[in-house]
């Protein structure tokens, strides 16, 4: 396990030479430190243990190509502030999209209604910590190079159409945003960040006689536009989408029933997100509603399995310099050699459960109440060669690409849906199979991991996680692994 260096508190009061993202709220909306203190004071006017203000401003752009035409282009601007008051296990929340002092104070008074007691005083004087620097800070508009983005779409379109004559539809899209946040809390926390996020996607339809199939590929992260010229090109995404669609033209029905399953590296790590990730978010465990409640220190996976959540990987979709409570993100060991080590927590869970705070507090927007969420969740590499893993399977499924997944955290049942998978027969990959859902039980599934490859890979940067109606970008990763048993939900019983 790597060490967990933490940010060093600067100990200095912030001043006008602070980072650009803080000045943004101060300069653009006329926010002052005095106003922040007044709002926090108002928020704790009926008591409570903790209050925070979360300012957010998002500028987003999205363009879409269809039939070789740039048919859609949109830009959005939103800004607002959420006020939260925590009293014991109770949370009061209010927000405003109007950042004038009177509206902010009114939101603070509304959130304060959750508590009932004598007023509390927030800590005086904010403390701003030195901060991680995991991603580039883009231009304020984030959309300076619209022509460059259009060119990427057109390149993807040309590449996909040139790749195979059976491609009859190509659609491509590019979306990016710059999200600025400022967090000020009654415990003295003061943090700000500017978070870029970009995503490129290609979707194709292939047709051959009566047979028709889809393919898609995409990627991105907290990166600049240049990433799509140098690291991951439109041609790369286009060829991958075409490959998947053409492959699916010949797919045979997927098998049905329990069998050995080999998962490829990278995006199949969505298994971890569903099987163990959600169940290890501290809020569910604090309330005793997770199938993993009370299992710390117990075996929940084979000894070959070590799973971490790591919010501090440069440029990754799930990474954050600070979480949405202003705490630095970190690398947190969830499962170590099969033993459940810890939960992903926020300030509230950390205080109520007496567990370490892990910088996992996230929210969809200023309108949403924050809660513990994943960042980038992955399994560490093992010793096995991927080809040996495949060779060891007599009859099974080799799944390398997935759509989404879902979990019932209370009974532990989870699913994830394979979009590219093959039969394994006598150690060899044979026919591609149609889409099929795989189902398992979270606290049990990883006990059947019998081989772990040395080929750890992170996904391409396409994951969005939903919890209680809130979507946040996340990453997953995994080496090639073998599960000795898992239920495959196809239609073929042969």
């Amino acid at each position: 396990m790597s060490d967990h260096p933490t940010s060093i508190p600067s100990g200095t009061q912030h001043n006008s030479s602070g980072p650009e993202h803080r000045r943004y709220f101060f300069d653009t909306f006329g926010i002052t430190e005095r106003l922040l203190e007044r709002c926090l004071g108002e928020a704790l006017s009926a008591g409570g243990d903790y209050a925070d203000l979360y300012f957010e401003s998002i500028a987003s752009t999205s363009i879409g190509l269809d039939e070789s035409l740039v048919k859609s282009a949109s830009q959005g601007m939103s800004a607002g502030c959420g006020v939260r008051v925590v009293a014991g296990e109770r949370t009061g929340y209010a927000y405003t999209d109007d950042l004038f002092a009177d509206r902010l104070l009114r939101a603070a008074r509304t959130a304060a209604l959750i508590a009932s007691g004598p007023a509390k005083e927030p800590v005086t004087g904010f403390r701003e910590r030195a901060q991680q620097d995991l991603y580039p800070v883009l231009s304020p508009e984030g959309d300076a190079n619209i022509a460059g983005k259009l060119d990427l779409l057109l390149r993807a379109d040309r590449a996909a159409r040139a790749a195979d004559p059976r491609i009859v539809q190509v659609r491509a899209s590019f979306s990016d945003e710059v999200r600025r946040i400022l967090v000020a809390a009654s415990d003295g926390t003061f943090a700000s960040d500017t978070q870029p996020l970009a995503r490129f996607n290609v979707f194709v339809i292939a047709k051959d006689g009566a047979s028709i199939a889809r393919g898609s590929a995409g990627g991105g992260g907290r990166v600049e536009l240049d990433y799509f010229h140098t690291e991951k090109t439109p041609e790369g995404f286009a060829t991958e989408a075409v490959r998947q669609a053409i492959l699916q033209l010949q797919a045979v029905p997927a098998p049905a029933g329990e069998m050995e399953v080999v998962l490829g590296p990278g995006w199949p790590g969505v298994l971890l997100h569903e099987a163990v990730g959600h169940g290890l978010e501290a809020d569910f465990n604090r309330k005793g509603t997770s199938a993993f409640s009370g299992l710390i220190g117990q075996s929940v996976a084979s000894s070959k399995v070590t799973v971490v959540d790591n919010g501090r990987m440069p440029n990754r979709r799930g990474s954050l310099n600070v979480d949405d409570e202003g705490s630095p993100t970190q690398e947190t060991v969830l499962i170590e050699n099969g033993i459940l080590k810890g939960y992903m927590s926020d300030k509230l869970s950390s205080r109520l459960m007496g567990i370490p705070e892990t910088g996992n507090c996230r929210r969809e927007s200023y309108q949403a109440v924050p809660m513990p969420r994943m960042t980038n969740t992955y399994m560490l590499a093992g010793d096995d060669a991927p080809e040996d893993i495949l060779r060891s399977v007599k009859r099974g499924l080799y799944a390398v690409n997935f759509g989404g997944g879902q979990v019932d955290i209370t009974n532990g049942k989870f699913v994830f849906s394979a979009s590219e998978a093959y039969l394994i027969e006598d150690g060899k990959i044979t026919a591609p199979v149609k889409d099929a859902t795989l189902i398992g039980n979270g606290p049990e599934a990883l006990k059947y991991v019998s081989m772990v490859g040395h080929d750890l890979r992170l996904d391409e940067g396409i994951g969005t996680c939903g919890k209680e109606g809130q979507s946040v970008p996340v990453g997953v990763g995994m080496p090639t692994i073998k599960l000795d048993r898992m239920v495959v939900g196809g239609t073929s019983r042969s």
């Binding site: 300069d27 653009t28 909306f29 006329g30 035409l69 740039v70 859609s72 282009a73 949109s74 830009q75 959005g76 601007m77 939103s78 800004a79 607002g80 296990e89 109770r90 949370t91 009061g92 209010a94 927000y95 999209d97 109007d98 004038f100 509304t110 209604l113 619209i146 539809q169 339809i205 028709i212 199939a213 889809r214 997927a254 049905a256 029933g257 329990e258 005793g288 509603t289 309108q367 109440v369 989404g404 879902q406 979990v407 019932d408 209370t410 009974n411 049942k413 699913v415 149609k434 889409d435 099929a436 859902t437 795989l438 189902i439 239920v487 939900g489 196809g490 239609t491 073929s492 019983r493």
Partner: protein, 458 residues
């Protein structure tokens, strides 16, 4: 940027038309404006304690402009004069870089219209309900879960949620419309524990446009508890083919897939297995599927669609035969058809295609109990998880929980299995439909029995 410190303007039809004028003055050949303001309230009570209380409102404006056959959209929550100026000029600048598309453009003005009847979409009693009473409703729903059975040991809380929205749509071809909608709901989400420590959860809810129309929190808590308790002791079943009976709340997803398959955008993009099937038999002859955006008080009702066309009743499937796709103006032009008034328009982006009130009409409905009676050995689905549906091919594979049917009766709980098939065949193989359809949201279905699917399990 000191001008952003101006006071907000009110959201009025006058503001919408002013924005259109500003867009035209800035060079747009056509423009469309959406203004939206809404408020939300949430009270979550767990084990007698208020766990979360949320109350707020927000506003936003969206603009779509055309420069000849080029178009682009912008949206903002900054309704100051400066913010609206950026909204207009941002859209114009963006439209200049898009491609010319001769099929783009606002609808013809002759197609505009709106329902003038009182659709009963908004009730004052929602906003008028005092916070203490809302919290009390949530508290009673949660308490009813615990009161139902000692095996209910925990909950994810009882909640009362409400919201109200005001939407204004206007365009440069003369459409101007606005409406208000209110909604409120009570829900309960208990957790039951068996002697061996297994935990199960489920939920139940009641939604309505008026708080007076909500079911009692006691009945919601009791039903949520009943649904949760029947899952205790769930186990897998062997892999097999067996008849599958979809309970009404799950059968809704099957009706939803029919809408998706008939979505004009998917049809045009060859991304639906219904493409080219108009006039053909695509489902069991007892099936008629209707989308109706005009139902009085409906969860999916509105006086006009996202482009200013009146909402209407569209028969999608009539006795098994595909009669109509669902279209907005753009897809109708591409397919050389007429819009069905199904344009959906949020604040951001161009209009998509969305359902109004979507439901199934059966030519030979059966009491749901008699649907079970006909099943010697089969699976009654009460929950589906995952997204394993491919609309291009119809391939269907989802995780499922429910109850095993033995000799016509619900027998023991089942989980950890998948059900799989192909929607093309599943629609044809609907062999029985119930008489128990209730609108609990904008999509409704009675109990459905589908034959020929594969269950994968132990």
């Amino acid at each position: 940027m000191i001008e952003t410190l101006n006071q907000h303007q009110d959201l009025t039809a006058a503001l919408a038309t002013e924005l259109i004028d500003r867009a035209l003055a800035a060079g747009a050949t056509d423009a469309e404006v959406v203004l939206y303001e809404g408020d939300e309230f949430e009270a979550l009570v767990r084990k007698g304690e208020v766990e979360r209380l949320k109350e707020s409102g927000s506003r936003a404006a969206g603009l779509r402009v055309f420069l000849g056959s080029r178009s682009a959209s912008t949206s903002t929550s900054d309704l100051t004069s400066a913010g609206l100026e950026r909204l207009v000029h941002g859209a114009i600048d963006l439209a200049r870089v898009t491609s010319e598309d001769p099929f783009s453009g606002l609808p013809d003005s002759s197609s505009f219209g709106q329902l003038r009847d009182d659709l009963r979409l908004c009730s004052d009693d929602v906003a008028g309900l005092p916070a203490a009473e809302r919290i009390a409703l949530a508290r009673r729903a949660d308490a009813a879960c615990f009161a139902a059975d000692p095996r209910i040991t925990n909950t994810r809380g009882g909640s009362f949620d409400s919201g109200a929205g005001h939407k204004i749509l206007a365009n440069s071809r003369g459409f101007l419309g606005e409406y208000r909608r209110s909604i409120c709901s009570i829900s309960a989400s208990p957790i039951a524990q068996s002697a061996d420590g297994q935990m199960q959860r489920d939920y139940w809810y009641s939604s309505a446009r008026s708080s007076a129309a909500l079911e009692s929190p006691e009945s919601i808590g009791a039903e949520a508890a009943r649904r949760t308790l029947r899952r205790l002791g769930a186990r897998s079943v062997p892999t097999q083919q067996a008849p599958i009976v979809f309970s009404p709340e799950i059968a809704r997803s099957i009706v939803g897939h029919i809408f998706e398959a008939a979505n004009g955008s998917l049809i045009y993009h060859q991304s639906s297995f219904f493409a080219g099937k108009l006039g053909e038999r695509v489902a069991s002859p007892e099936l008629t599927i209707i989308d109706d955006g005009t139902l009085i008080g409906g969860f999916g009702t509105a006086p006009f669609d996202g482009e200013g066309l009146p909402t209407r009743r569209t028969v999608i499937i009539e006795r098994g035969v595909l009669k109509s796709y669902l279209l907005n103006t753009y897809m109708a032009r591409k397919l050389n058809m007429q819009s069905t008034g199904n344009a959906s328009r949020g604040i951001t982006g161009a209009p998509g295609i969305g359902a109004g009130n979507l439901f199934l009409e059966s030519s030979s409905p059966l009491p749901s109990a008699s649907i079970l009676v006909g099943v010697k050995s089969g699976f009654y689905v009460t929950e589906l998880i995952g997204q394993g549906v491919n609309m291009v091919t119809g391939d269907y594979s989802r995780g499922a929980s429910g109850l095993w049917i033995e000799n016509g009766e619900l027998s023991y709980p089942v989980e950890g299995i998948t059900i799989a098939g192909n929607l093309r065949e599943m629609f044809q193989h609907i062999s029985a439909t119930g008489d128990d359809m209730v609108f609990r949201s904008s999509i409704a279905s009675p109990t459905l029995r589908i034959d020929g699917m594969t269950i994968a399990g132990a």
